[in-house]
């Protein structure tokens, strides 16, 4: 640790001499990137914010005279709309159930393919990673067959156990859990690779030392592996939560938000408002509510991650 800190201290002491020239150069080097961010990122976001205070719709697209400034009405209508609360509940269930499940499965898979006793590790790593790089539309076609109430593999397996068939995507109670299962299967490979990288960074000596001290495999995992994996874990948890809050493609291709809005998500609601009904004002309001939600969720997670360290 101290060896790693020394060069940084040297650089800090040399900083004042180079500061002016370096800063000027840095500014020029950063300028293109900042300009691109301003034009393609900041500006559209500000425009969307302005849009969310108007009732921009198909009439306004035809003639801007039909555009009205409505203040916070879009937000008020949104909070008063039962569909928004349905979408919010579905999105939160998807995130709070699907997120931890996804992290747990990818961690388990990472531990399994990293275990020294495991054979064909490269093979399994590749197989587990395949769903991540397959396009969702192709996956959806296959999974729709798996979930088919009459011919689906899943129900046929249940039938051999004597369990009555389940209408996976057609029953409002089962549709969201079905999508969670699909999403976990589709996405765990990516997080698994991150965990594998994190695990490889843990020195083997620590495990050996723990083993010599008589630690069981479980203690080793709890007191050696997990604490040292914490930075990776925080990163994976935050990225998974953000990804899950932006749930869109799964319900879009699998269920269209149905049955009975059971799989309607916030982003799907935004898509419908904006691109199906062309209510850009309302859609922009949904986008900013989602933005606030992601901001809060990320802040909470970072706080929680920092907590134990203090």
């Amino acid at each position: 640790m101290s060896a790693a800190g020394a060069p940084a201290a040297d650089a800090a002491s040399a900083a004042p001499v180079l500061a002016v020239r370096e800063r000027r150069a840095a500014r020029w080097l950063l300028a293109p990137a900042l300009a691109v961010i301003a034009v393609f990122f900041a500006l559209p976001i500000l425009a969307a914010l302005a849009l969310s205070f108007t009732d921009f719709d198909i009439y306004a697209l035809g003639d801007l005279h039909f555009l009205r400034f409505v203040g916070l009405d879009n937000y008020g209508e949104l909070l008063a709309s039962p569909r928004f609360w349905t979408a919010l509940r579905n999105t939160l269930v998807f995130t709070l159930v699907g997120g931890p499940l996804s992290v747990a499965v990818s961690l388990a898979a990472a531990l399994a393919v990293s275990a020294r006793l495991a054979r064909f590790r490269a093979f399994f790593r590749t197989v587990f990673f395949l769903p991540t790089v397959t396009t969702l539309v192709a996956v959806a076609v296959v999974w729709r067959y798996l979930y088919h109430p009459r011919e689906g593999l899943l129900n046929q397996m249940l039938a051999t156990l004597g369990i009555a068939p389940v209408d996976w995507l057609g029953d409002p109670h089962w549709a969201l859990p079905s999508l969670i299962l699909l999403a976990v299967w589709k996405n765990f490979g990516f997080n698994m690779i991150l965990f594998v990288a994190g695990l490889q960074a843990i020195p083997a000596q620590l495990h050996e030392a723990a083993a010599i001290d008589g630690a069981s495999a479980w203690r080793g995992l709890r007191d050696v592996t997990l604490p040292l994996l914490a930075p990776t874990l925080v990163f994976v948890a935050v990225m998974t939560a953000i990804g899950h809050l932006q749930l869109f493609a799964e319900p879009y291709v699998m269920t269209g938000g149905g049955p009975s809005d059971a799989t309607l998500s916030i982003v799907l609601l935004m898509y419908e408002e904006g691109f199906r009904w062309w209510n850009m004002g309302q859609a922009a309001a949904v986008a900013f509510v989602l933005f606030a939600l992601i901001l809060v969720a990320t802040a909470v997670q970072l706080r929680w991650a920092r907590g134990p360290a203090r």
């Binding site: 009732d55 697209l61 035809g62 039909f66």
Partner: protein, 453 residues
């Protein structure tokens, strides 16, 4: 696979692949001929380039009709742009927003009010009145009317589309019915008899819960107004709509139709062949599909019938669907564009278009010419097309319709009572129409103008 976006296309998201190769060859040939024709034209008159957007299968085959046009109008060069149905609506809207509209385009007739609201369409009344080839009397009146908003005509029907019942004659006979009953009561009786015959093997009728066509056309049949006061207020909390909704919901509640969405249907044709359902409410694109996909031994067993009416006699109303040809208001080649509409509207071209695409011709005289009047499966469409109505023609319609389907689903699934669902539907639609009321109140007539059914 059906993407949600495809559902908003007017009744015809699914297209046939058969003949794609032939059409490709024809299109290639046409391109060669077309290029030749335009080359000659340039020598005689200054060429004007006409941009035409056509969707899906229509976009594939329309080029095969154009050589004849090139011979007659050597000065006009037509450039066809093919747009997939699933993206057509967004493409047209973005083209409008980006000021890149084609001169002439195919437009699903449920989209007409929206593009009128955008002021994107050229009124065609004067041109139609002066035309010798576009004869309004030769069209199905219900379909023609879908192109008129506030008394102004904005499009000329190109092909027509509506919904009828496709059913298994053998199963219906086994249940004791020689033919499809013509009234709601008889229909229901037949469905009950079928349920008794089928047992657990299947359902008498397939009505996907997330599609609005069935509840809406039943309400139109009952004479429900749906909206009132120049389509500016919701009008669902009234006896006729309630009665239609109760009939529709009853089909599910009595186990006559499976309470599932369209996505839950695996393979429609195999399920139909296996007797998992006996009736289906669908459109002309399935004429070709059924002929092609059902096994040979079932080809005599399936039939089509116009919709039953609440009391009979005569068919009950169905939805006026199809697509029209419309001219962009900002086009620099409106005369040339209308000349192409005139050409494509000629009965010979309509019949040729049917042979190429399978679409049902918009002109009645073209039905004779194409031999459709004698086709036993197309006959139900001929009868039904005399009795079609369009739902309220306002830009907000699709959204209102989705809300109606959702209200029906709520009652079917027992999430709400019929009374509560109708009241909620009324409230929601009332909110959807707020902007429209504001426009009407300020006398912004043209953009907000619409027509109740």
């Amino acid at each position: 696979m059906r993407l949600p976006a495809a559902r908003s296309t007017p009744l015809r998201a699914r297209r046939r692949l058969r003949g794609a190769l032939a059409a490709g060859l024809a299109a290639g040939l046409a391109a060669l001929l077309g290029a030749g024709g335009a080359g000659c034209g340039r020598a005689e008159a200054p060429a004007s380039e006409l941009r035409l957007w056509a969707m899906g299968r229509e976009g594939e085959v329309v080029a095969a009709l154009l050589p004849g046009f090139a011979v007659r109008h050597p000065g006009i060069r037509v450039q066809v742009q093919q747009v997939p149905w699933s993206a057509a609506h967004e493409k047209l809207l973005t083209a409008y927003a980006g000021d890149a509209m084609p001169d002439l385009f195919q437009l699903g007739n449920t989209w007409v009010p929206e593009f009128v609201a955008l002021r994107a369409l050229e009124p065609l009344d004067a041109r139609i009145a002066a035309s010798r080839s576009v004869v309004p009397e030769d069209y199905f009146p219900g379909i023609w009317a879908t192109n008129a908003i506030g008394g102004v005509t904005y499009g000329v029907p190109w092909y027509v589309d509506t919904r009828v019942l496709f059913y298994r004659r053998d199963w219906l006979a086994r249940a004791g019915f020689a033919q499809m009953p013509g009234t709601w009561a008889g229909w229901r009786e037949a469905l009950e008899a079928l349920r008794a015959r089928l047992g657990d093997a299947g359902f008498p009728i397939l009505l996907p819960l997330d599609e609005w066509a069935a509840p809406v056309l039943l309400a139109l049949q009952r004479g429900a107004p749906l909206l009132r006061d120049d389509a500016s207020h919701a009008d669902f909390d009234e006896p006729r709509f309630r009665e239609a909704l109760a009939f529709y919901v009853g089909l599910f509640r009595s186990g006559l139709a499976p309470p599932r969405g369209a996505a839950a249907v695996g393979n429609l044709y195999r399920d139909f062949a296996a007797g998992r359902f006996v009736m289906l409410l669908t459109g002309p694109w399935n004429l070709g599909e059924f002929a092609q996909r059902l096994p040979a031994e079932l080809q005599d067993a399936w039939a089509t019938a116009p919709l039953p009416a609440p009391e009979g006699p005569g068919p009950g109303l169905s939805l006026a669907g199809g697509a029209s040809l419309a001219v962009h208001r900002g086009s620099a080649h409106k005369d040339a564009a209308f000349q192409l509409i005139e050409y494509l509207s000629e009965p010979e071209q309509q019949a040729a278009f049917h042979r190429l695409s399978g679409d049902l011709p918009a002109r009645r005289s073209a039905w004779e010419r194409a031999g459709l009047r004698d086709d036993r499966h197309a006959r139900a469409f001929w009868v039904q097309l005399q009795a079609v109505a369009s739902p309220p023609r306002i830009p907000e319609w699709e959204r209102v319709a989705e809300r109606i389907a959702r209200a029906a689903e709520e009652v079917v699934r027992g999430e709400r009572s019929l009374d509560a669902a109708v009241a909620a539907l009324d409230g929601d639609v009332e909110r959807l129409l707020a902007k429209r009321r504001w426009m009407l109140a300020r006398g912004l007539g043209e953009a907000a103008s619409g027509e109740a059914p």
